[in-house]
């Protein structure tokens, strides 16, 4: 359906619905349910140069209208995904956004370079800890984040999205990474939270803290996408608690050119497909298009 088509940094997507990194792995688990090419794009699980075992259990716990996760960046490392997952995913006809991270700018760049042949876009996870700054996430430090983006831009010819955290100086980081060459943005990442068990009197998660996601954080996503849209001309991939057509349209009005579905997929593996179908049904009876809604709240 033409009314959902989106041009995003020179890449054509049939619709604006994307899976959020870490909620769809590399797509194989879901490929028997529906063609992955039906979605706008698949964002793959965060990938580092080497395998990472991740955090101790429990790694997830449900909260009011949301969930906390502390997976600890578990992944098999870029070489495994280059062999088993990324070529397979491209062969499905899916558009692919590859989420990358590392311990330092050179590692980010290394992964970005290796995955580029399979990436329509490269998404840079700035929320991972900067080992050289005592574990402070890059997303809290505009200069460090800019350094990462500069390194990734040099390593890949694919458009680069900076994935922003809702914590720290989000808009200052956005400004810094844009100056460093970021082509677009994705936001929001999760917000750190904690649950404590009343019986054990200890934090529920093995890692103690975890990232809050789901409907509980959606208003924060709407606010930050709205504020970022006022500060940049670069396109925005918006996410945070999106499940329904209304959720997606609200983020579009705030300024999101594409939207990602994350936690909703855990509750319903068909959630991204249902959102595509819902948007198709919504625009079928209308004279306007998805793109007419993007940034609509600012006009």
């Amino acid at each position: 359906m033409k009314k959902l088509e989106v041009d995003f940094l020179g890449v054509r997507f049939p619709n604006p619905v994307v899976t959020a990194s870490g909620t769809f792995n590399f797509g194989k688990e879901y490929a028997h349910l529906y063609p992955l090419s039906r979605l706008g794009a698949i964002t793959t699980k965060g990938t580092s140069p080497r395998p990472i075992p991740g955090a101790p259990p429990p790694r997830i716990t449900e909260t009011e209208r949301g969930m906390l996760n502390a997976i600890g960046l578990e992944n098999k490392g870029v070489e495994a995904y280059l062999e088993d997952e990324l070529p397979w995913l491209k062969a499905q006809g899916a558009r692919v956004i590859v989420n990358v991270f590392g311990e330092n700018p050179a590692e980010f760049a290394l992964v970005a370079a290796k995955v580029s042949p399979y990436a329509d876009l490269v998404e840079v996870n700035l929320s991972c800890p900067n080992v050289h700054a005592g574990g402070l996430p890059y997303a809290h430090d505009p200069a460090a984040a800019a350094e990462v983006i500069r390194a990734v831009k040099e390593a890949t010819d694919r458009p680069v999205l900076a994935k922003l955290s809702p914590e720290g100086p989000t808009l200052r980081v956005a400004e810094a990474v844009e100056a460093a060459g970021a082509d677009g943005f994705s936001l929001i990442n999760t917000i750190r939270g904690m649950r404590i068990d009343l019986e054990t009197k200890k934090p529920v998660l093995g890692h103690r803290t975890g990232g809050l996601s789901g409907p509980a954080i959606r208003p924060i996503a709407v606010r930050l996408v709205y504020e970022l849209f006022q500060n940049t001309d670069r396109p925005i991939l918006g996410m945070g608690g999106v499940r329904t057509v209304e959720d997606a349209l609200e983020l579009a009005l705030a300024g999101a050119r594409m939207v990602a579905v994350g936690t909703a997929t855990f509750a319903d593996p068909y959630a991204p497909l249902k959102l595509v179908q819902g948007l198709e049904a919504f625009f079928a009876g209308r004279g306007d298009t998805w793109l007419d809604w993007v940034g609509g709240a600012h006009r």
Partner: protein, 255 residues
């Protein structure tokens, strides 16, 4: 094994005793596809995430044993008959075949998958003994289901208020014979004790592990546990594992 999908379940009957209960669902598309040991990621009223549960299939119906531990599982037990839920399944692996006689040891909600296994083994003409350990007589409502499997049933209560007094794992060593295969599903102390009893006689033993899961299908990576042979994800590599592979409580679970 058939690929999982999102199935529709309709609650047709239930028995609730305090915080424990049995939900009986009509789920024609699912019951044919399930094998004993596999699990569902079951929608829970009013909650965001589903909950992994290993059911039984008996008489063409899906039986889910629930312990109401939090708002989600308590909400399940409070569902009215006729309620409709969604469930992802069948998920995970199934119990391997026994070599000779099968000795099944269940406790708590572990009764679901073992009741299912007992039913299938008896139907296949395999000699099967089913031990169930309960805290007290309030789990007596399980007896008709246990007996309906056709297996030899031994029912234990900690306080002796019904059946034999004590833990099933105390009596298990006296029942084991060369050639047996042991299956244990329940609280960790029960699985550990059953695994030790089997190991003492060099018998194969299988246990089913529980882990917090979001997706249940291998994408969220929440359910990683460390086995002696290395890391696994319970949802895809399990939930059934050889007992000798599992680090039980005394040893750290991960890394």
């Amino acid at each position: 094994m058939r690929a999982w999908d999102d199935h529709r379940l309709r609650l047709v009957d239930k028995e609730v005793r305090g915080e424990r209960g049995l939900l009986v669902f009509d789920a024609p598309s699912l019951v044919e596809a399930l094998s004993p040991g596999q699990f569902l990621n079951l929608e829970v009223p009013g909650r965001l995430l589903r909950r992994p549960m290993a059911p039984a299939v008996m008489g063409g119906r899906l039986l889910v044993f629930v312990r109401g531990r939090g708002p989600g599982t308590r909400g399940l037990l409070a569902l009215p008959e006729g309620a409709v839920l969604r469930a992802l399944g069948p998920l995970g692996n199934a119990f391997p075949e026994p070599r000779g006689r099968a000795l099944l040891v269940s406790g708590g909600t572990g009764v679901g998958p073992l009741l299912f296994l007992a039913r299938r083994l008896v139907a296949a003409g395999r000699e099967t003994v089913l031990f169930h350990g309960a805290r007290d007589a309030s789990e007596g409502f399980l007896l008709p289901y246990l007996r309906a499997t056709g297996a030899e049933v031994r029912f234990f209560t900690e306080d002796g208020s019904l059946g034999e007094r004590g833990f099933p794992t105390e009596m298990l060593p006296f029942s084991l014979r060369p050639g047996d295969t042991v299956y244990a599903v329940g609280p960790e102390p029960l699985m550990r004790a059953a695994a030790r009893a089997a190991a003492t006689m060099a018998l194969p033993a299988y246990v089913s592990l529980e882990a917090h899961m979001a997706c249940g299908v291998g994408s969220c990576l929440s359910c990683r546990v460390e086995l002696k042979s290395g890391p696994v994800h319970v949802c895809q590599d399990g939930p059934v594992f050889p007992a000798e592979e599992v680090f039980f409580a005394e040893t750290p679970h991960v890394r």
